[in-house]
Symmetry: C2
Subunit: 441 residues, 2 copies
């Protein structure tokens, strides 16, 4: 057996402590599988005195992660600090530059600097592994990077944020408002004190941008993700979706179109019978459509110290075995430029909810605007007043009555044009609600 | 770039032709990912004249697969002939012994000779990859062998046979009998002319035996799989399951118990809300419970030329990259002996359906026998006569009336004892139907 693989763990929060606990518990079994022992020889964290529930008496302490990254006593730098700049970025760069393998759970860092870091890893002949950065314990990075290597991918999509899925699941199951669900999620530790990053979709966008690159062989382009969070979803929408045969999920979707690649994160109506509709609570799920394999769906815990640690240790085990996979699936020099398919060219069905002042007159006006935009309607649903005005922007509309439209496949630009025209007629109160429908098998 | 990796493909049926088509279509992209070109340089099949829809003019033809396996012009031997003896076994052994990597889709061969072949691969410093052998396009072998390396696995289970799942799905959706569904499946090409191997569970057992070894680090022991097929499942059972909140699936389950490892294949009642209950038609699904990651579920196509080819090419790509993973996850010498947990010690809930002659008297007798065996009943369902006698062994029981019991968790030995006692009282007509209930999250 070769010498032990020496790990330096930077960041001793929940995940860092779980990684160390996992290696303590299953170290021997992992060594059998990987063909060599794996040992934490160094750690780095701000506060040396805090009790993390793991024995750190035999490891070297570094207060400076960069110093640890460069240490000749470390073979693999495990970055679990988080953040897309500062110590996380600097230490990962230092580690790669000094010929250390890097394993990280840092999606923000990858989304922002992934291509550069992949290049740096290649130049130094080391691995940059990050299974834990996307969908936690679900092995989606390995599946795209290795298992599906023989496929041309046409679409990858998923539920990539447990906080949002928890909130939407509870809104549906219990009929309670977004605000109440969020407050509860915060109490239970499923949402941060400042939940913006989750509920506005940024976290999903980071993960999606990484998946897009792996799926399509393009440079990561997180700034090109179209972004809508879940804050405007009301229980009225969820109820209407239910009656129409859908559930509402925050999806990240990346797909090839004729004009480029669409990357979009938005509340999405998914058919109840689809696999993705049935993912409840904090679970994550990722689906990939490949031209040879068809559709593969992976479901599992998207967060949590232990699930994340499982993914980190899987990555470490690959390094121990000596498997050197290009970080983004192929050499950085071969990554294609990312061509953004403009969101206005997006094609799909739409759910639109209006509050109208006077139903009879409004119907004619709305129908005319839709016809002018060449949008065909699959269904028009009238609801009793009061049914659909609990949430969001419609609250003040005392006498407004809800009308819901489901369109056949059309384009974003047509829908936007129709909504502008409808708003201009003055027949609707407030802003219309618009939720995209995703075609799923 | 290193020299091209040279493949010898043995077996040019549906899968073999798909592999060649895939490599023709995506060869350049795969070469980018794997770091070297991949080329089919030799093929072996019985009939050289048959048109397989792929150009084979530039490859060497071997009528003898063993000769091709030994050829110095081949780096990787791709075994797609099938069978657990004869040419498939002999050629795989020859390839490994002469230092060629082997990629195979052959579950029967692995289930029977996997440990020996793994040993032979190790001795010769080559890979033995077989992602396609279990659940077709689903990357479960890689997930267990690599991604979940840091976990102790407590249970692995799944729907591993598309034919059975197709039949059960249609029986439920359309209320038609097993026999009619089977005939239809044969017409559509989802079932073989001789379907025994699928419907009696042997195919599932082979796949399960391989998963068991990967999950628990034990030697493969396919002969120790407890086996019940789906031929005795009636539409009456499916209807009753539906009303009780379950669906019936043919599951392969391997789990650790106090006395050893249970491996069992049988029709199973799974809660409707579980992920596995929702896998319809020819799809496969595998779930793994790991102590750190929690539960991971993978869903996808379990068969078909293209999906299988995707898995085969994923394996080839790993070989091209130089990743050498022990075939069964760790060196063959470190595999533990398999200790069988006896089926009579199996613990779980049970669904039992009787046809009784005289309901009033029968109830008392059945209840007494259950009590004597210390089995608690969760529910007792009476059905109108006629509701539950369409299928199977109850057909002749003109005046028999159906009674269904759901037990709380008990043991197989207790249930068997109770059923024997009940049969001995003479209050039931025919053989009782027994379906195990699986606890799922």
């Amino acid at each position: 057996m070769t010498n032990a693989l020496r790990l330096g763990v930077a960041g001793l929060g929940t995940v860092g402590a779980s990684v160390i606990r996992l290696l303590n518990k299953h170290g021997d079994a992992i060594a059998d599988k990987a063909g060599r022992a794996i040992k934490v020889t160094a750690v780095s964290a701000r506060d040396k005195t805090r009790d993390r529930g793991v024995d750190l008496s035999n490891v070297a302490w570094f207060t400076d992660a960069i110093e640890m990254a460069k240490s000749s006593d470390v073979d693999v730098f495990i970055e679990l600090m988080g953040g897309d700049f500062g110590p996380a970025e600097d230490s990962v760069r230092a580690a790669l530059a000094s010929g250390k393998h890097v394993v990280t759970a840092n999606k923000a860092l990858l989304a922002k600097h992934g291509v550069e870091l992949a290049q740096l890893a290649e130049e130094n002949g080391v691995s940059l592994n990050y299974e834990a950065a996307v969908a936690g314990g679900i092995p989606i990075v390995k599946t795209l990077r290795e298992s599906m290597a023989g496929n041309e991918i046409t679409r990858v999509y998923g539920i990539l944020n447990g906080t949002c899925n928890y909130i939407l699941t509870r809104m549906e199951a219990e009929g309670i408002s977004f605000e109440d669900c969020l407050a509860d999620a915060q109490k239970l530790g499923y949402a941060e004190a400042d939940p913006t990053f989750d509920i506005e979709g940024n976290d999903t966008a980071h993960k999606l941008a990484i998946l897009t690159s792996l799926a399509f062989g393009t440079k990561i382009s997180a700034d090109d993700v179209y972004l809508e969070g879940i804050t405007s979803v009301t229980t009225a929408d969820i109820k209407a979706a239910d009656e129409l045969g859908y559930r509402i999920k925050l999806l990240g979707v990346a797909q090839k179109t004729e004009t480029g690649i669409e990357q979009r994160v938005h509340p999405t109506m998914v058919p109840k019978a689809s696999a993705i509709a049935r993912i409840d609570g904090v679970l994550n799920a990722v689906a990939v459509d490949g031209d040879f394999v068809g559709e593969i769906v992976l479901v599992g815990p998207g967060a949590g110290g232990n699930a994340t640690a499982s993914a980190v240790v899987g990555d470490i085990s690959d390094v121990a075995r000596g498997d050197l996979v290009p970080a983004l699936g192929k050499p950085a020099s071969k990554l294609l430029d990312y061509t953004r398919a403009r969101m206005r060219l997006h094609e799909g069905g739409y759910y639109i909810r209006f509050a109208v002042h006077d139903r009879a007159g409004a119907f004619a006006a709305i129908a005319q605007c839709m016809a002018d935009a060449e949008i065909s309607l699959e269904s028009i649903v009238q609801r009793r007043t009061g049914d659909l005005v609990e949430g969001g922007e419609m609250e003040g509309a005392d006498i407004a009555q809800p009308v819901i439209l489901i369109t056949y496949e059309t384009t974003e630009v047509a829908v936007r044009k129709a909504l502008d025209a409808i708003t201009a007629t003055g027949v609707i109160a407030g802003k219309p609600q618009l939720i995209r429908i995703e075609k799923l098998s």
